[in-house]
């Protein structure tokens, strides 16, 4: 990673000195370069575009190799991202290239959530770098930087304007990654149509406030070519890995019945411009922009979310240490409070339950008493009835006895009378 590129401002406390001879520190850039070459470089490209628009073919053509490519179907239910890492070497320079492709982008009926997996992927890479940076024991120089350095957005060559999905997606990504829009399959647009199409696209991007990557103009050696190239954006590209014999050379081209489209012919398409800008001239700038602009923005947002600030309410600078301590205290206090709360709640609940149970017990007791009372009353009533019945019965039996006696007496009296009559008869 290049060191920070802040332009040196003349410090008031130091005075410039002129040298009397050759010291030798002009070899510093060379030392840096040697070290970087030993370490190897790392570059990550994200390709966003509809299925079949030519993302994999363009990557193959750009890097002059054959990456293993899968043809995806149109029926993915959601957008996914597929990342593949390759180690390439050109002369003595080693490059670790990661190509991330979208799968199923633009195929669904409802594309409102299509941008989300892409944004999530980019954020994940930033997050893992941030985690590494915040570690106590960190190894940044060994860290495999997977943050996305460049995003090639493939525009479908309709010839009219951007699609609504393109606009929505680019708006979501412009503050997270360097967006380089390209017009894919440009061999279907004629020169005049292409000119109008490019103007329309750029005006739509500007009017909607989408910030695409502009090639840097601050370095004099490349500012001239970068300015020209900025005027050719978006690049209209054609990709091909097949070779066709033109003249007496084999060139990468597409053969049609009406002619041959040569990929590296600047008159036919802007492929050479894209390769030069993306790889030859500005690759390092892309990596730097990712680190200083997009990553810093992400980091700031993330830390602010967690509650860290650069200055406290009285606008005095606060160090990370203090903020850590303050946060920790806050956190512990919060924990304690919660614990107390929970304990209180628990005690209260127990009390309530106890009261409830007591109430229930009392109720049961009163009901029991009531029932007992009722029972006793009924019993008394029954006893009363029994007594009456007994009385009745005894009086009845007395009367019966009396009646029997009477009957018996009358019988004997009658017998005696008869006997008397009989006896009197005889006389």
């Amino acid at each position: 990673m290049a060191s920070s590129d802040v332009a040196r401002q003349p410090d008031k406390g130091t005075r410039p000195l002129s040298l009397a001879g050759h010291v030798g520190f002009d070899s510093l850039p060379d030392q840096l370069v040697n070290k970087s070459v030993c370490q190897g470089f790392c570059f990550n490209i994200l390709c966003i575009g509809e299925t079949g628009i030519g993302k994999s073919t363009l990557m193959d053509t750009l890097f002059n190799t054959n990456f293993e490519n899968f043809e995806s179907s149109h029926f993915e239910p959601q957008v996914k991202l597929r990342a593949q890492t390759y180690d390439l070497q050109e002369s003595t320079v080693r490059l670790r290239l990661t190509v991330v492709n979208t799968v199923g982008f633009g195929d669904q009926m409802n594309k409102q959530e299509s941008y989300q997996p892409v944004v999530d992927y980019i954020d994940r890479q930033f997050e893992s770098y941030l985690q590494e940076e915040l570690k106590i024991k960190r190894s940044l120089h060994n860290y495999h930087d997977s943050r996305v350095h460049a995003c090639l957005y493939f525009i479908s060559p309709s010839g009219h304007s951007l699609k609504s999905l393109d606009l929505v997606t680019m708006k979501k990504l412009d503050s997270k990654v360097n967006i380089i829009p390209v017009i894919a399959k440009a061999d279907t647009i004629s020169k005049t149509e292409l000119h109008k199409f490019k103007i329309k696209i750029m005006s739509e991007l500007v009017s909607n406030g989408v910030q695409i990557y502009q090639f840097p103009l601050d370095d004099e050696t490349v500012s001239k070519v970068n300015t020209t190239m900025n005027g050719h954006l978006p690049f209209a590209v054609v990709g091909s890995t097949e070779e066709v014999c033109v003249g007496n050379k084999m060139v990468k081209a597409r053969q049609y019945p009406w002619g041959v489209v040569q990929v590296e012919n600047e008159n036919h398409c802007d492929f050479v411009k894209l390769r030069e800008m993306l790889i030859c001239v500005n690759m390092e700038d892309l990596r730097e922009q990712t680190h200083t602009r997009h990553y810093e923005l992400y980091r700031r947002c993330k830390l602010e979310e967690m509650g860290f600030k650069d200055t406290d309410p009285e606008c005095k600078p606060v160090s990370l240490q203090q903020t850590y301590e303050a946060k920790r205290q806050e956190f512990l206090v919060e924990l304690q409070k919660r614990e107390d709360e929970m304990r209180q709640m628990f005690v209260q609940r127990v009390k309530e339950k106890e009261a409830e149970l007591k109430e229930a017990e009392r109720e049961l007791q009163s009901r029991f008493e009531q029932l007992k009372r009722l029972h006793a009353e009924e019993k008394a009533a029954l006893e009363e009835k029994k007594r009456l019945l007994d009385d009745d019965q005894s009086s009845f039996s007395k009367r019966r006895a009396a009646a029997q006696l009477l009957q018996a007496q009358s019988l004997t009296a009658n017998g005696k009378k008869d006997k008397d009559r009989k006896n009197s008869g005889f006389m």
Binding site: E50, T51, G52, I53, G54, E71, S72, S73, H74, F75, D107, Q108, M109, N110, K111, Q112, S156, P157, S158, G159, H160, S161, L162, K163, S164, L165, D166, L167, V168, A184, K185, D187, T188, S190, K191, E204, S207, N208, R254, Q255, Y256, P257, W258, G259, V260, V261, Q262, N267, H268
Partner: protein, 371 residues
């Protein structure tokens, strides 16, 4: 109902055969020809597909006129939540005394919004509306000047940038396949090399079979046609779906002025059969099968619609009045308001019927419980 019959137009020869057997009705084809020229023809063509696929350019190339003089194309921002509209352009064109009233129905906004669920609904509603209009006119008392606005053919443009059909394509064609004859086309075919064209066509044919999509099938030619015709017919059938290129400009190529597109690497000629299938499409659509398309629309799609309509009307009548008539009495459609309210009424009727059924079921249950 199939549409496999074709009318042969053979020039009659009244002096052929013996004089005494000559009746004279061999001149009927001539009479038909004369009358039809006098009456004139009409044809309604619908074009559907995402914007930027060259639909308007192709229609201009097909009919060699400029149908869309000043079009306003929307920006990407305006299209984020755009709904599909239906626009109609009608022109009268004449060739060798034969008049054709051509109506082109365009569907701007199809597939352009970010959320495209049910984006075909305005299109199917439009087609149903035209059927309904015709049904009403046909059943009316005064049938002198019926205007046939039914859609006879729908050209569906498939983008060549993908690997075949996409979900939105499949759903659209499936929604339309029973209402109109759909002819799928591969648009902007000048970005495909011949090998890629072949592969894409195979892929599309496979997917059309796999998903059970019904597109317009050319009627088989009769067995007694000459070999040349049969060969042409076979070639035509094997090159579907057609890969087309359209152009609004005329360029100079090989010493002639042709319709084409000028590129730095060559000139694409629209009417060159080795460059694209435009000529085949034009032959099929205009020169040989235009009337067949009209026949299929009126014999097949319209009759199905009509039968459905009548059945639903009589079943509603039966449910309301509990009258069982062996022959469904064709009810004259009342001058009802537009399709929207009718749809609502139909929905409400369905609901009522469902509630009645539920009531019956509940009564039955209660009855069983009582027993």
């Amino acid at each position: 109902m199939t549409a496999n019959s074709r009318h042969k137009s053979r020039a009659p020869r009244p002096d052929d055969g013996e004089e005494k057997d000559y009746v004279g009705f061999a001149t009927l084809p001539n009479q038909v020809h004369r009358k039809s020229v006098k009456k004139g023809f009409d044809f309604t063509l619908m074009v559907a597909g995402e914007s930027g696929l060259g639909k308007s350019t192709l229609v201009n190339s097909l009919f060699l006129t400029d149908l869309h003089k000043d079009r306003k194309l929307l920006n990407a921002e305006e299209r984020i939540s755009q709904t599909v509209e239906i626009t109609k352009h009608t022109v009268d064109i004449e060739e060798k005394g034969v008049k054709l009233k051509l109506t082109i129905v365009d569907t701007p906004g199809f597939g352009d919004a970010v959320n495209n669920t049910e984006c075909w609904r305005p299109v199917t509603d439009y087609i149903d509306q035209q059927f309904e209009q015709y049904f009403r006119d046909e059943s009316g008392l005064n049938r002198k000047n019926i205007q046939d606005n039914r859609v006879h053919c729908c050209l569906y443009f498939i983008p060549p940038f993908g690997h075949g059909l996409r979900p939105v394509d499949i759903e659209f064609i499936k929604a339309l396949q029973d209402r109109v004859s759909v002819v799928p086309l591969i648009a902007k075919a000048d970005c495909l090399m011949p090998s890629e064209v072949k592969r894409l066509k195979e892929q599309l044919r496979e997917e059309i079979d796999k998903y059970g999509i019904k597109i317009y099938q050319f009627p088989d030619c009769d067995s007694d046609e000459d070999e040349e015709f049969k060969r042409q017919d076979k070639e035509l059938k094997e090159s579907t779906p057609f890969a087309v290129i359209g152009s609004n400009t005329v360029v100079e190529a090989r010493g002639q002025r042709v319709r084409g597109r000028l590129y730095p690497w060559g000139i694409v000629e629209v009417e060159n059969p080795s460059h694209c299938d435009f000529v085949k499409l034009r032959t099929m659509l205009i020169r040989t099968h235009m009337h067949d398309l009209k026949d299929i629309t009126s014999d097949c799609h319209y009759e199905n619609y009509r039968a459905q309509c009548i059945q639903s009307m009589t079943s509603r009548m039966n449910a309301d009045k509990r009258v069982e008539s062996p022959v469904p009495v064709p009810v004259l459609p009342l001058p009802t308001p537009d399709a929207e309210t009718e749809k609502l009424i139909r929905l409400k009727d369905d609901e009522l019927r469902r509630m009645q059924q539920m009531l019956q079921k509940m009564q039955q249950q209660m009855h069983e419980q009582d027993l």
